[in-house]
């Protein structure tokens, strides 16, 4: 009886192992989910033309960013991809950025509307072995519509993921930084809506 229940236990575990091995893809050191072009297409499906602005952050601009974000900024410049539709209308801006997750950088693209609200966020390269829930739509959809004025903070306007807290914080930091940078680079016209 004892050996039968033990054998049953191990048989169950072995079956589970077999199912998982068949169903699951192999583990990877890092997961390249999207190339920059694929990420752009996902965020701006109507985009027909792009142009890249390399914007240099002056020491004054960097100080201003550091004050508003409450942390150090190490970048000297930001590459902003402006996306236009076939008629030449500006659809928005896209910035590829990185934030350190638990141990390694998470690379993601933040797409922003001309009015400087998040259009969408997509994870391009995920290198951590845990916390992968942040690359899923169910998490990323939370950023849509956020602006530089929003807290973009777990337990406030972003739902945290238990077990992926650090990755969530990293994503929050990155989205907030990109919004702050774009607001600084393309300040909204005084009293008027942006085209």
């Amino acid at each position: 009886m004892r050996s039968r229940s033990l054998a049953l236990c191990f048989a169950l575990l072995a079956l589970l192992a077999l199912l998982a091995l068949v169903a699951a893809p192999a583990a990877r050191g890092q997961e390249v989910l999207l190339t920059p072009a694929q990420a752009l297409r996902e965020i701006f499906p109507d985009g027909a033309r792009t142009s890249v602005d390399r914007k240099r952050l002056t020491p004054g601009a960097r100080d201003s960013l550091e004050r508003s974000l409450g942390r150090r900024i190490l970048e000297d410049e930001v590459d902003v991809t402006r996306v236009f539709d076939a008629a030449g209308t500006l659809l928005g801006y896209a910035v590829v950025t990185e934030e350190i997750g638990k141990y390694r950088p998470i690379t993601f693209m933040v797409g922003v509307t001309p009015g400087l609200a998040v259009k969408d966020v997509v994870v391009m390269v995920y290198r951590e072995s845990r916390g992968g829930d942040v690359k899923r739509r169910r998490f990323l959809d939370q950023y849509r519509g956020k602006t530089a004025k929003d807290p973009i903070d777990a337990d406030r306007d972003i739902i945290n993921i238990s077990g992926a807290t650090i990755s969530v914080r990293s994503m929050n930091r990155g989205v907030k930084r990109v919004l702050a940078e774009l607001t600084l680079i393309y300040p909204p016209p005084p009293g008027g809506a942006r085209q």
Binding site: A20, A26, E98, R156, S162, T165
Partner: protein, 458 residues
Amino acid sequence: MHARFTAVVSLTLAALVAPTALDAQDTTATRDSLARRVQQLERTVDSLRATAERQDERLMELDERSAAQQGVPAQPQLPGDTTRRTIPSARGIYGKPFVKRFGGGTAIGGYVDFEYTNDLDGHASSFDQHRLIPFLFAEITDRLHFGTEIEFEHGGNVEVEDGKAGGGGEINVEFATLDYRISEAFNVRGGIVLSPLGRFNLVHDSPVNELTDRPLLSTYVEPTTLSESGFGFFGTTYPSERTLLSYELYVVNGFTPGIFEVEDDGTALLRVREGRGLRGEDDNFAKSVVGRVAFSPFLGLELGASAHTGKFAARDGTFSGDERLTIWGVDATWQRGPVELLGEYGQLHTDVPATLAAAGAAGRQNGYYVQGSYHFGHGVIPPRATSVFTGTARWDHVDLDRDASGDALDRLTVGVNWRPVPDAVLKTDFQWNWNTPPGSTDRGDVQRRLLLSMAAYF
């Protein structure tokens, strides 16, 4: 890049040496100017280091993309898994923040808490350095990881004399596991595992919990911290873009006959905490199984179910060897904006030998808690970027003998805590405790306690 870096370092050194020569002229303005220059150069060096790190990562990514363009899979398989990684990285000690990397794939971290308890009705108070828990993580290969937590409780003052341990502290290997990673959906784990019995056992670290004391359910019915020697599997899958399913399943040594305590007056009590899982040699042939399944239908809601079952004793004068202990529970967490609700229910059933039953040992227990938290006052107190207050209330109940009246504990806790940063917390809790004695229906007088504590990951 290297030439630029060397030049910057040379400039920095020159700037550091230069003030010595200029001191002779005693020009304060020059010194200030040089100090500013040194600060500027330090900043440049920091920036260059960060740029170099980013470029390393980008080079890896470019390598992969170019490989993909040449027709090899876009997501390349790992190289052979028998060598150490050339680029050391320690990913994982799962769910634990603040792990610092040493190099060579080894990382260290931990958490500490410190408590002050005032039993207002018993006129007793105490400071307690309750837990000091370092943890280590090593990425032996890209797939094979080792993680451990070593627990020093109450100052860890353990004195061993004539082979017997004394002193007021406790030193314990809380878990020590080797994980072999196959995929996100399926991983193999062996060692002293943190038993997935109830949600709280898996997230019991003081810095992540809003209140100082653990729930009564997690003290008496699903005894936290529960870790046992065993082997099994864990993983996470995504049935759809919106849903998540995770599981853990282990075969373990299981509990011991120590779950029954016999008092000096001969009364027997069921206290599973005292018979928690064996880490060394098992005391019987039968193994126990413990597992938990969690399902999240959408972000912010998680529903879990867990169970632990197995025979726990060898045949002797008291036990037949066929007695089985089964503990099961369900749990739920829900969060939306600043509001978080969570609750757990658990119950246990055990076969009780006739001699212990005659001495009054219970065979069935259950308990639950419900807890609500609200985060507020973000940035009211510096540091403004991270500081937050949380108000929490929890109701606890455990019935330590479901087959008899009484023998139950109830507790209401309200607390406010402040987190200067997410991984450190200062807590203030107030408790009202009621103890219903065995055979009674009267909850008795309330016992009030004030608890102040601090906890942080490091």
